[in-house]
Subunit: 338 residues, 2 copies
């Protein structure tokens, strides 16, 4: 019964109606008699008819799709952002496609170009490099773009970000308040803007508090992952006791959780032997064995707001670009509170 790739024509023929009627059944069912409509629908089922979105889009000029190009699909922070976007997309009756750039510029570029060629309604992206030319080019060519979780020097699109410098500052001010006199910053690579900003805010706060530069120890990691957090923990343990920091601020919660686990597994206690502050406040942070103090970003809101902006650009001719900056917030928990 089923025919590979039945078209509207085939359906019309099978149902004994004209092509226009089939189209009406699909797009304006109220104009068709109950009886003929059900006959057409039966024919569609019999033939296994599937509307060809390409042909449709070609005619209509736009798709019903939004896309989010994620920096790291395995980091809960980004999937939470995606959830915020998804809610907004659903409300607008669009489907959301998630693409993972996996922190690689090449893959990101391929996704961007592919999406652009698909004529998606808009692209949300947490880019490897927010100042990349390609972003600007794609925006200029006409696809609405919103950069999520980064601001950018480049014009041509909206950005929705959280003030990472401030976040770094909040973390360190908290540690200073707790009386720490030597701390570590754990994070990397510094090519990731979020990491660099958090570091800069942290260091500035440290110096502003009158602490010494040499008491701000930087432990650079290859990637902001749990595994690297554990590795950083091993390096910390290796330091002579006198030079060992009493607290660590990690560029994200994955690093913090790795560090926390490594520290506890060697019998040291948190926060007595080492206080830890993370960043992002992912669900796993509060659920850690020693609940993690973390800098919270409004991640779902970040996504939702970004989606709003991209839809506005897609639909509102009066749209003007804007840079939204949310304020992070420190959530103090047991990992720093004696």
């Amino acid at each position: 019964m089923t025919v590979r790739g039945a078209s509207v024509k085939d359906v019309a023929q099978a149902a004994g109606v004209s092509l226009g009627t089939v189209s009406n059944v699909l797009n304006r069912p109220e104009r068709v008699t109950e009886k003929t409509r059900s006959r057409v629908e039966q024919a569609m089922r019999d033939l296994g008819f599937v509307r060809n979105e390409s042909a449709r889009q070609l005619r209509l000029g736009k798709s019903r799709t939004l896309a989010y190009v994620m920096l790291d699909a395995r980091n809960p922070f980004f999937t939470d952002v995606a959830a915020g976007i998804d809610d907004a997309a659903e409300a607008a009756e669009l489907s959301l496609f998630l693409c993972n750039s996996d922190n690689r510029a090449r893959k990101e570029a391929e996704h961007l170009e592919h999406l652009e060629q698909q004529r998606v309604q808009g692209i949300l992206i947490t880019p490897v490099d927010p100042n990349s030319e390609l972003l600007e080019t794609v925006a200029r060519r006409g696809t609405p773009i919103v950069v999520v979780d980064r601001s950018s020097n480049v014009a041509g699109f909206c950005t929705v970000a959280v003030d990472d410098v401030l976040g770094g500052r909040l973390a360190v001010e908290h540690l200073v308040d707790q009386g720490h006199e030597r701390i570590a910053f754990v994070g990397g690579p510094f090519g990731i803007g979020q990491v660099a900003d958090r570091h800069d805010g942290a260091k500035a706060a440290w110096l502003a508090a009158g602490r010494r530069e040499e008491d701000f120890v930087v432990l650079a990691t290859d990637a902001p992952t749990v595994a690297d957090g554990r590795a950083a923990g091993e390096r910390l343990s290796g330091l002579p006791k006198g030079r060992r920091p009493t607290a660590a601020f990690c560029a994200n919660d994955l690093l913090a959780l790795g560090l926390l686990q490594q520290t506890m597994s060697t019998g040291r206690r948190i926060p007595d032997d080492l206080a830890i502050v993370g960043y992002d406040d992912i669900d796993f942070a509060a659920a850690a064995a020693v609940p993690l103090t973390s800098v919270r970003q409004p991640r779902q809101q970040l996504g939702a707001r970004a989606a709003e902006l991209v839809l506005d650009e897609a639909n509102n001719p009066q749209h003007t670009h804007q840079q939204v900056v949310f304020t992070p917030e420190l959530v103090a928990r047991a990992s720093t509170l004696g």
Copy 2:
């Protein structure tokens, strides 16, 4: 300079060549003189030309896309599976789009239909209900489908799964080996096949070990999340000491981590006061403060194998459907080892 939606025609005109030549520049650049080619390319840049994937696809009949419809994009297990798929997609030079059904049949159906209409090369899916008619229908209409992490009674597509009944059994046999005489199963909703199978395997193993049915306590949860794991922990604490299980097997690691955290936060010790076994062996499991014993599924392999199968179905006329079942493996860690 940039014109909204310049087409090959516009480019041809601007470059002073024919439409066919532009097409050649795009698809068979070697057939075009260096000189005209660069002239055409310059025109493309000037006009901001973007290839229209719809028109292309319409002509070629297929897309360069693979899609994975995930049951829960926020569960690390599924993002790990997605990573496995992504590697395979990349090797085949296809882009992978991730869609999140968020465990809702309606959303899943919309994604499926949309993807089908897009004529994606294949759909990988961890379905809400592997026996749903829609899956079979989509497969019958011609889109290659592979069901991931579930087997199905329905014919018409390949499945790649892990033996969840066996997984449940391994978990409980381990607990029996450790001498536990009363255990809890934490999981739900039971409408999720994975949950039901793990429960069934667990219970069967318990009875097979000669333990009593009433010593197998079921704590049903609303969702397999960290928050629900914590809630289950509170219910456990509420049981009178004599009737309280000494071990818990959780339907996934999220539940286990929640339970672990709640237990420790009330000063009880793991595994002395409560032994815990999780399921999936996500990265966070080993990184928990008390490293979690868990049933490991080969999640990246699961994804990679599924991608292979869907590509085989898409490209090999001799393709025959197959049901692949991987074997899970218990990874014993401190959360059960005294």
